[in-house]
């Protein structure tokens, strides 16, 4: 979907993910992670971590409508995830902080399409 534009393409990218970092607590700010959706456990979403436990964040409540902003404190054991495309992403701004244990992998590389092979950033 469009939530990670321009990092990931609309037409679908294939990325290489690894399953070790989150087991050893090595997930950090800015990492692109695979998360089991809190709303539908059959779906996996790809988002970027913008806050760790204890962080205070301010975000635009609805960038399409106005400039109102909201501040939150990320609770213990949770992370704050957002898609790079703020206008078209269902993420922590909608369902709140996500428990760390829902993280299932960390994205390392994009491997398809071949002309875009390389690191995500």
């Amino acid at each position: 979907g469009p939530s990670m534009l321009p990092t990931l393409n609309l037409t679908g990218d294939v990325i290489l993910a690894e399953h070790l970092s989150h087991r050893f607590g090595k997930i950090g700010l800015g990492d692109v992670v695979l998360v089991r959706s809190p709303r539908d456990p059959k779906r996996m979403v790809t988002k970027r971590i913008l806050g760790l436990e204890g962080d205070r964040l301010t975000f635009s409540a609805d960038p399409l409508v106005g400039d109102a902003s909201v501040s939150v404190l990320v609770p213990k054991g949770h992370v704050w995830i957002q898609g790079d495309n703020l206008y078209a992403s269902t993420d922590s701004r909608h369902f709140g902080p996500v428990p760390y244990s829902l993280i299932e992998g960390k994205a390392l590389l994009r491997v398809w399409p071949p002309e875009y092979f390389g690191s995500l950033r």
């Binding site: 089991r36 959706s37 809190p38 709303r39 456990p41 428990p99 760390y100 244990s101 829902l102």
Partner: protein, 169 residues
């Protein structure tokens, strides 16, 4: 004619290969069983009195139903703690998505209560011993993705072997 040393190494490598293969098979069997069928969970602490002993219980939990159906009210589930990913507390599901739940926030201190609606994709879990339990009253509703399995039987202590007791409510 082969020399005695090459014969020895041939035999040793064959034995090592057999042992390695056996260990690999056992590991594969355990991996599939514990990740897709069932696993043993150890429960201790006061939060599930009187259903579970605070001094420790060994439980058999299964992972099959969580893939095919939503948890039901009254199920005892093993969850991954939202507060500490290294802990796996065992609690009872008292509300499923869409339910309206009223609970006493801290029964030790006062009768003050709070009412919430369980959001989509979440369950409300609670320990049976509400006076001493850290559960959804503290950390909020739990996403389905954190449910590791549903408890079937207690297998230890032996004198209490069998299904867990009925829903108290």
């Amino acid at each position: 004619m082969t020399s005695p040393s090459s014969s020895f190494w041939n035999t040793a490598s064959r034995e090592a290969m057999k042992s390695g293969m056996f260990v690999a098979k056992v590991y594969c069997f355990l991996h599939v069983t514990t990740n897709y069928l069932g696993f043993m969970a150890y429960a201790y602490g006061p939060s599930m009195i009187p259903t579970l002993h605070p001094s420790g219980n060994m439980l058999l939990a299964e992972r099959i139903s969580k893939r095919y159906q939503k948890p039901s009210r009254g199920d005892i589930v093993v969850i991954r703690s939202p507060e500490n990913p290294n802990k796996t507390p065992i609690k009872r599901v008292v509300g499923v998505e869409g339910d309206c739940i009223s609970f006493v926030i801290d029964p030790v201190k006062s009768d003050e209560s709070q009412t919430i609606v369980v959001p989509k994709g979440h369950v409300f879990v609670q320990g049976d011993y509400t006076h001493n339990s850290r559960d959804s009253r503290n950390f909020g509703p739990v996403p389905y993705g954190l449910i590791q399995g549903r408890v079937l039987w207690r297998v230890w202590p032996f004198q209490d072997f069998g299904p867990l007791g009925p829903t108290p409510t």
